[in-house]
């Protein structure tokens, strides 16, 4: 959180002393890789990569207004997906698929025609689906897969730098409807606890009913995030 606050303060300070940039209503599509470092060690049950979750996805942003020293406001919606795999206790192969669906606001200011800073906040839902394929289940009709899906809330913030092709240069070349850029940022996402009590599936129609399975406990996927992305702007 200290890092997040520092980034925010530094960004706003730079913005405050920078010359203004012209606001322009337009649509943006961003593609992003947003790796997350979860704080809960329980993720190791689903991840052989320690606590890193590789999340990938896209945002759709719309610049709608500018105000105070040409700070631009961009409401957005976004999606991030991640797939992690682990093998806890050497007894099964686990998979954790997460889908982040969120909406938020991005504040952006260009302090150079090609370089800017952004700060965003978002909130949404996290859909987490897990599987566990048991290696040692044997016998006809043996149930061999755990399965569960849970939904929880998420909220987060991100700050960083944005790059784009200089509008003046594009105009000189006759390109006025499109721009292309990139971004790099860091932040934090807070998520609700997820409690997995998976259903045991597999077998066939003759398999014995499963009356009780274990409550695996809780996992929390909150953590620090880094975002590297590409931005396609359409005017």
């Amino acid at each position: 959180m200290i890092r997040f606050t520092a980034i925010t303060i530094i960004g706003l300070a730079i913005l405050a002393v920078s010359p203004g940039a012209k606001a322009d209503i337009h649509l943006e599509i961003g593609l992003a890789a947003t790796p997350t470092v979860a704080q809960d060690p329980a993720l190791e049950a689903y991840s052989e990569k320690d606590l890193r979750m590789g999340r990938f996805g896209a945002d759709i942003r719309l610049e709608v207004a500018s105000f105070w020293r040409d700070i631009h406001l961009l409401p957005f919606i976004g999606y991030r997906g991640a797939l992690d795999e682990g093998d806890p206790f050497g007894m099964m192969e686990t998979g954790l698929k997460t889908h982040d669906l969120f909406a938020g606001f991005r504040f952006r200011g260009w302090f150079q025609p090609w370089l800017g800073i952004f700060l965003e906040a978002s909130g949404g839902l996290l859909v987490a689906g897990m599987t566990g394929d048991i290696w040692s289940a044997d016998g006809t009709g043996a149930r061999s897969r755990y399965k569960d899906k849970q939904i929880t809330w998420s909220a987060g913030g991100l700050a960083g730098l944005e790059l784009r092709l200089s509008p003046a240069m594009l105009t000189r070349r006759g390109v006025t409807k499109f721009n292309f850029g990139g971004e790099i940022g860091a932040g934090y996402v807070r998520r609700g606890d997820i409690s997995f009590s998976p259903e045991l599936v597999g077998g066939d129609e003759y398999s014995l009913p499963v009356e009780s399975t274990a409550d695996w406990g809780e996992i929390n996927l909150s953590g620090w995030v880094v975002q590297i992305g590409l931005t396609f702007s359409f005017f």
């Binding site: 190791e44 048991i134 016998g139 009709g141 960083g160 730098l161």
Partner: protein, 523 residues
């Protein structure tokens, strides 16, 4: 600008390293011991160890961790007790994980998994052996040969621990005693019923070692001990007591203890008497009887208040009877060599049933007038398909695996009638367990449980979805439980009165219960 860039690069590098708990969820689940209690199964898992208890109910199972080694401590062993077949508590022995660990001492934990009650007894060293007395009042700890490995060779083989299970841990509970067996290792513990020796009621426990037995009166706070040497020190044989019987004293006899020992043709009879010099405690005198050829079992019977010792032999096709008072003996010739003896009542009189494996007959030796009638008292019964294996089901029945056929037969000892329950091949009925007139058999590696009703003789298979690792019956809740080898911890639960597939359910995931909440690495 340069500082900002450096800051971002730092963030990226930090993220790229990832963070985690080294070793978390990495170790395989390693079940070291499984103990059946009256109400469920206890599993000792991992190193330094934790104990998971799976309680059986009619609706499913309840799983909880009932004991975990503390930091610096490891679990050495786990047993059920104090009633061997109806154990309700766990007895868990712990020791320092490292010899340099000074804050942890060797201890025995008594844990009731249902209530969570735990008592710690300081025992001072790791004992490989532990026995409970049949009255469930005492537990005795003793060293075995294997302790030389587990303790690094530093242990006193003469040391035993006596725990009063009716009392809480205290400075005098357990009592650590030195039994003085001359450097021998205790190879067995035998608890006697209460015996009155010279007017004093004594609870005697016998420690058997090579060539010697040691007796301790557990009720005596001074723990007076008596040694009896069975053979001379230079005897090369390994003469270790394997079966010990007692006969209470009466007007004509002092209390007697009989010992059958390995590699010995003799039966040892020990009279318990008052100390000859009037000192506190008791004393013992030794007699030896000829036990015939390779004695394999002994029984004490009473013929008109005359104690007789019946001795079965593993060779020679004979049974030997010894008059304890006069040491007179006689042998009765048989057609084969039954190795075991069951003493039971038949029509108001005692009889000794001689049975065993690889036989053609079962022998019945009437006790009344045995000393005078001798061989006339012997009767036998031909078993049509022979006996591959036989065992006592209860006082009135023997279970017989036929020699020349497959299946299972029951011998009614009252009627002396044999009933073939099944001829179905492919089942090893020696591993069967009987409950309320039904045999339950689950062969490890097999994929079914067979229940065989003794009245109807009808075998009913319960086909399972997975193979059998072990089968346990829990009559207290009316359920049977089949443990499967699936690593997550899985079993099939079925009612004992309706052991069919329609009534069976799968319970799963003992080892996964709450594991996401447990983020500590124990080593």
């Amino acid at each position: 600008m340069r500082k900002t860039s450096i800051f971002y690069i730092f963030l990226l590098l930090w993220s790229a390293t990832g963070c985690g708990v080294e070793g978390l969820y990495r170790d395989d689940i390693n079940v070291r011991t499984t103990v059946r209690l009256k109400s469920g199964l206890a599993f000792l898992e991992g190193d330094p160890g934790r104990v998971l208890f799976v309680e059986m109910t009619q609706d499913g199972v309840k799983t909880k961790t009932v004991f975990e080694a503390r930091l610096g401590e490891e679990i050495i062993s786990m047993r059920g007790g104090p009633a061997p077949e109806q154990a309700t508590e766990l007895f868990i022995m712990t020791a320092p994980e490292d010899p340099r660990e000074t804050t942890i001492d060797e201890a025995l934990f008594r844990v009731d998994p249902l209530t969570g009650s735990t008592h710690e007894f300081a025992i001072g060293s790791v004992f490989g052996g532990m026995s409970f007395d049949p009255t469930q009042r005492y537990a005795v700890l003793y060293h075995q040969d294997s302790d030389a490995t587990s303790t690094g060779g530093l242990f006193n083989p003469n040391e035993v621990g006596v725990i009063d299970l009716t009392a809480l841990p205290a400075t005098d509970n357990p009592r650590i005693l030195s039994v003085g067996i001359g450097g021998r290792t205790i190879q067995g513990v035998h608890f006697m019923d209460e015996l009155v020796v010279d007017g004093v009621t004594r609870q005697i426990v016998i420690f058997g070692a090579d060539g010697m037995i040691k007796m301790i009166d557990l009720t005596d706070p001074l723990a007076s001990t008596v040694s009896v040497k069975l053979v001379n020190d230079d005897d090369p044989r390994s003469v270790v007591p394997i079966k010990i019987l007692e006969r209470p004293g009466d007007d004509a006899h002092d209390p007697l203890i009989f010992a059958l020992a390995s590699q010995s043709q003799d039966i040892y009879a020990i009279s318990l008497v008052a100390h000859p010099e009037g000192e506190p405690g008791f004393w013992a005198t030794l007699n030896q009887y000829d036990g015939g050829a390779n004695p394999s079992d002994i029984a004490v019977v009473e013929d008109d208040d005359i104690p007789l010792l019946v001795v079965a032999s593993s060779s020679g096709s004979l049974v030997t009877v010894v008059d304890v008072d006069t040491a007179d003996m006689f042998s009765i010739t048989l057609l084969d060599s039954p190795t075991r003896i069951l003493v039971r009542e038949q029509e108001g009189s005692d009889e000794a049933v001689l049975y065993g494996d690889n036989l053609g007959r079962i022998y019945f030796l009437a006790v009344d007038d045995l000393a005078t009638e001798k061989g006339s008292n012997l009767d036998d019964m031909i078993i049509p398909d022979g006996i591959l294996e036989s065992s006592v089901l209860d006082a009135d029945r023997l279970m017989i695996i036929p020699y020349y056929d497959t299946g299972l037969a029951l011998l009614d000892l009252n009627e002396r009638e044999i009933t073939r329950l099944t001829s179905q091949s492919g089942y090893d009925w020696t591993g069967a367990t009987m409950q309320d007139g039904v045999f339950f058999l689950g062969q490890p590696g097999g994929d079914e449980i067979v229940s065989l009703d003794m009245v109807t003789g009808h075998p009913e298979p319960l086909i399972l979805d997975e193979s059998v690792q072990r089968l346990d019956l829990f009559p207290q809740v009316g359920m049977g439980f089949v443990l499967h080898p699936t690593a997550t911890g899985r079993g099939t639960l079925f009612p004992l009165d309706l052991p069919t597939r329609e009534n069976a359910i799968i319970v799963d995931g003992f080892w996964l219960e709450g594991f996401l909440d447990n983020k500590e690495v124990t080593e």
